[in-house]
Amino acid sequence: MPEVKMPDLGEGITSATVSMWYFSEGDSVSRDDDLVELVTDKATFNMPSPVSGRLTKILVNEGDVADIGTALAIIE
C-alpha cells in the first residue's frame, strides 16, 4: 500500500504538525501536486504527492502532530 510518510525535516526534529490537507479522502491526486502542509518550529513546508492516484485514507488529521517517518496518508 503506497503510504505517504512524514519526511526528515532536520537534525533533532522528531515530529511535525500536519496543518492542512489540500485534498480530501477520495480525491484524485497527481504526482507533485501539493498534498499537505507541514509545520515545524522553524519552518512551514508544502509536501507534494510522491505518486499519482486516489487519496484513499488520511491517517493524520489537520492540527495533529506526527513523528518523522510515520504514514500520513495512503494513495492507491
Binding site: 532536520g10 537534525e11 522553524k42 519552518a43 512551514t44
Partner: protein
Amino acid sequence: MQPSWLKRQIILDSGVDITNRVIKEFGLNTVCYSARCPNIFECFSKKRATFLILGNCCSRNCGFCSIARGRPQAVDEEEPSKIAEALLLLGLRRVVITSVTRDDMADGGSGHFKKTIETIRRVVGRDISIEVLVPDFRGADKAIARVIEAGPDIFGHNIETVPGLYAGIRPFSDYARSIGVLRRVKQICPTMATKSSLMLGLGETESEVVSVMKDLRQASCDMLALGQYLRPSPAQVEVREFLSPQAFLRFKEIAYSLGFKDVQSAPLVRSSYREG
C-alpha cells in the same frame, strides 16, 4: 503561524536522495541539516550543501542557533578528503565550508580549515569556488592568516546581529572583534573577497542595521547577506518580527548604496544561500 512568503516546498527527487546518501555515506555534517535550514530541499535537489567541519558540537552557546553546545569532539583528520570525495560525487563546482566554534583548540580549528581548502583544491581541481564561513578565532591573527594562506575564493565571517543584541544572541562573542576579523582579512590580503551576514527579526531597528552595514563597509567588507531569523526550536530566542520581502529589498538598496559589491537580501536568504 509564519507569513506565507516563508513557506518552502518539500522536494522528493533524485537530487535530494543522492545528496542525502553521499553526506551520510561519508559521515559528514552539513549546516543545512544541523541548523534545520528551510531551504534544504531546494539546495539538496541541486546537489548543493554547506559542510559543517570540526564536529557538530559547538563551544559557544548562541541564542539563535540549534547546534548543540557540548564537549567538543576529536577532529576527524580524514574529514577534508571525505568532503573532497563527496564534492566529486556530487559534481559541485562551488562549495561553502563552515564550522562550529572551537575555542578548545589552540588554533581555533584554522589549521583544519586550511587543510580542507587545500585538499579540495588538490582533489577536485583548482577552479572549484570555495567560500569559507569561519568563527571569530577569538580574533587571532595567525588563525585568520592561516585560512587566507589556503586561498579560499570568499572569506566569510558573520556578524549575525546588531551590537545591542549581542548579549542575548551571541553572548560569548564580541561585535568589535568580529568586525575586526573582516578588517584583518583585508589588511593581510586586500584582494580577498570578504562577506558577512545578518539575521533580521531579532528586535533590531532599521538604523541599527544600517549602522552595522557602515561598520562592515569601513572594514572593507565586499559582500552581504540578509535573511529572516527563524527560531529552530522553543529553546532559542523568539522571532520578534517577520520583515516583509519589501523590507529586505529596501535593505538591499541601502547596502548597494553603501558600496557592497554583492548583496543577497530576502526572507529566506541564508549566508551560504544563492538563488538560481
